[in-house]
Symmetry: D3
Subunit: 238 residues, 6 copies
């Protein structure tokens, strides 16, 4: 029934390749099928002005898409002179999600910036960004511990994200672009490896949805995130 032939509860092929940047303190090329996001974690030994002197660190996210990541070329945000509302929404989500699993005190006055740049887009770029961004962040944290910058690994759980939707009235996991563009209902879930929820964004612009549909999507998301946590651990050699 799905355009890709996947079962309703099947993820696309997931690949989390580490060490893809020669310079970043942590990096991960996250592939969810044809969606490819390059995630890098960059460390600075300082925090934003409004956080100085609190003895706490900061984790922030930035998001971008190459103009021809998509079927038809989109305009370059740098050329247009501003980031779209969508871009800002996504990068705020990435930062929030990763801070939720970070003990900012344990990070000390250090900032880690997670850049998520979409090389190729086939739906689900924000969930690939968060899932790959976690891996890049974890690698950077390990680096900081190894270098003696901080004494404790500051991440309290893994974070991963997946989308669900209602496609032709069936709840399905991990929407690709053909499903997403036709799908009536669309929900993104960010979860932790200890079984909790960080963020839920469910939207029914085409049609509203019922509590039952929502519960079915949440079940799918739990299953999908379980597989993503497994993939993250493998990528991190844990």
């Amino acid at each position: 029934m799905r355009p890709s032939g996947r079962a309703p509860d099947a993820l696309r092929t997931i690949s989390l390749e580490t060490g893809v940047s020669a310079y970043a303190e942590g990096s991960c090329l996250a592939k969810f099928g044809n969606t490819h996001v390059l995630c890098t974690a960059s460390w600075e030994s300082k925090v934003p002005g409004w956080m100085k002197g609190k003895g706490e660190g900061w984790v922030t996210g930035e998001y971008g898409m190459l103009p021809r990541a998509t079927h038809t070329r989109g305009s370059r945000e740098a050329a247009r002179g501003k980031q779209s509302g969508r871009t800002q929404e996504i990068q705020r989500l990435i930062g929030r999600s990763l801070r939720a699993v970070t003990d900012l005190k344990a990070l000390g006055e250090n900032q880690i910036t997670i850049d998520c740049d979409v090389i190729q887009a086939d739906g689900g770029t924000r969930t690939a960004s968060i899932t790959g961004g976690y891996v890049a962040l974890a690698l950077a944290c390990k680096y900081l511990v190894k270098e003696g910058v901080i004494s404790t690994f500051p991440l309290t759980a893994q974070a991963a994200a997946i989308s669900c939707g209602v496609y032709k009235d069936t709840p399905v996991l991990d929407l690709d672009y053909p499903e997403d563009s036709e799908g009536e209902v669309d929900a993104n879930f960010v979860m932790t490896s200890d079984g909790n929820i960080i963020e839920i964004q469910g939207t029914g612009e085409e049609r509203s949805f019922t509590r039952d549909e929502f519960a079915a999507m949440m079940d799918l998301a739990s299953k999908g995130c379980g597989e993503l946590f497994e993939a993250q651990r493998k990528a991190l050699g844990e």
Copy 2:
């Protein structure tokens, strides 16, 4: 237990005053306690360029906050020269939520812009914007029917929104600013009067949350939206 002394499932005093603008096709001053949002609906007999010739209309939202709506003065977005990510996120949400209850075909090639300007802010400005924005939209639609611009009232259900949160480990309804700034978990629900869900935005930056906590918040939201639908009908004289 709540700073305001309200019961966990109690809304603030809600007021939806109509006819507050001398010029707008529909208007509503929405008060959720000390949060006051002026919502106006402005009609134009044209649609955005990318929609021309489809025979469909468009509903869009814009959001702003007066600089001294808050405890300490914020900078003016027009002076800074750009809208914040938060503003854009909220105005996208307003537009999406109201389109979800609009039959765009029945609206014909007309555009209605819902401006939600926060005069005073005490938490929950986006939910007051959507709830009051629905009233302004409904008034504008009635006006268009009365004037013969369109033949059918194009709204398919009422839309209202409310926030919930977990405050000192208790799920509570309709967060005010003291609760919101301390609250660990925060969720906004947009619902329809026929019992469905348009949008869910649940965020746990301070700490993640459980499925049970989420279910409790959704129950509170259903109750709260029920009261808001009632208030909307009263404001519209239905």
Copy 3:
């Protein structure tokens, strides 16, 4: 003769309601007939960088208009990404006018920002802004004296503003929108309660004007400002 039926030397109904903001150090909702401007005064215990260390304070104005304050919706300046020349002209005028009655030394190194936001516009928004802005400023100054931040009330006189015009060849006081849009000549006067002039802006784009016409407008403005000073004193309980 006037569309409103007013006598040539008659103001519209004037209302200066104080205490309209829960948070601002001073606030006033100024109504000149259907023109409604919300004026708030916000105090900060610091001055702009270029004034630091002089032992003097600063008073500045900002001006905005809600998109649907007018008959047809205007675009939102924050969305367009810049303030119009007209907005900047008006906010510079507000600041200049209020500084002219402020002893900046007596204010110490404090800044007061007067935000004038037009909720509804029917001509004369800049004069309502200055007249209401003075009230908000005076309230904030009283607050600073009461709180012991400064020892002397720093305002040296009241400031008020009114427009005049030549409408169908007759000089008239306090133009409303129908008069303003048809009027050939338009002049704004800012005056002090001790009988002096702070600012005159007279413009004859449609046609130039004579010295006699200008003198007649100045007489009208003196009369009108006298009534506004009275209304300000009443609003301030003096």
Copy 4:
């Protein structure tokens, strides 16, 4: 008494040199003492979008200042990415003043842009801009008549501008920078050669001023503009 040794009612040396641009339809280098403004008039056979089809023309002004026109270098507006409020105020004034002496119907659907670029500034740049801008505009209009683009010379009177001020309690004509920066009161007058007034901008930020002071300044301005009209006619060979 004046720093320059001028009598209170004496203009600076005025020079209006025409034909200074190889390309513009009209040009004038206006010198008021050490204030030098290059004014060019550029013709286009079209009008702004909102004026199309009315059979009328448009005259507009733009204003700029070279970074080192002043004693200390100012930043370049193009580099900062926006025009200051002061720049916008002045260019709006230039356009308004010149349109007041233009019969826009006689101009047909043509637009003339008057660029006023300050090469060197010693006070009074806006008055030199208007006075020189008139000359450039008149030359461009003569050119359009000569070329047969329009049949009637569309200017109905000359326009010129001069500043006055109160310097050490004496009303004086044509403020230079040392007077302007110390002067308490400052007024700009735009007048027509048939004895009327186009625009008055009087400002007393340092101190307010009396009606008598204002009347004295207006007398000085009439005298000064008389001399400027004479200089304009000489420059235009009339």
Copy 5:
């Protein structure tokens, strides 16, 4: 002598991998050692407004760098809201260079946009962009011929680019970052496969250079471009 141990006239390892984008009409990942640039060619069946109706096509370039392409993270141009002067300079160069080998008439009214996005930077990003951009452009042109959009392959020669410099007083080919940052003199050459020159940019900020040094660099560039033309032909299967 060179930090990399290369001979003065040795290129870094060059790789031009095609078919790296699932959607673009042509794509090439160009690697000059550790400098990696993703080049995509996007076709649109229209030209910019100012070119319409001439029967000619257009080729344009855009350039960007991922924030962590470099040793230390740079700020994101989209977030800063404008492209740097350097970025604009480079993208103008890319467009100019590729248009120089394109018969715009043979391209018909089609536009091809070459996006060059630097994934990793180790010096020479503009030369890798042009060299890889040519391959992407050639692939897109072949696609247009194959699809029957145009009848003739419109490229008249190959274009490739390489940098040279004077490092420790020796002219060397293909500067990497350690050489570039220390190098006193730096020159970029864009050449055609028929032995001509499209563009030369030679800069001696640290010290000026002699005609002999320049001639030596041009010899190196000719040799280097010869190898790049060979690599391009291999990548294109020619």
Copy 6:
């Protein structure tokens, strides 16, 4: 053969008039035929933030063009809100060229900004800017030595620039606008008075060029710069 009737190796009439600004520390109105550029050098006793504490100075360039410097009016960059890529390219070139002949250590922690504003344009504005900018810079440096701000004249050689091109297959010196707009090949050379090269920018968008053509242009440029160095020395009274 040339539209101007000049010999292939003839410069236009060159004039370098000094002392044209009443305020700048150095100034020069550079005329290359009908191309007129006003160059001013402005001194500040501070350096950009990133250079503080190094004991070195900085020289930077800014470039602008009056809207009606050209045959048809161009839009004002300050009004458009950004500088074009071309403007940024030119001002970067001006700064780089003049720094190449400045001993930044000898300049101490002082910054000199060279503003090059094109009053009239007939081709070659960047070369006139550099040639005149050098004169303004030299005058400012002499002023700093005379005032005792620095002890040694910090310029190590003269810098001048000239364009060459291939016009109707003949290499020619100092292109004017008619040649430039038709010319197939265009190269700018910045040279030092001790016989070296600072910068070469050669471009063949219309057609590529040969090494022989390039060598011929370089010979012409050497001859032309020789004459410009002579004119600079005369202007500086050396």
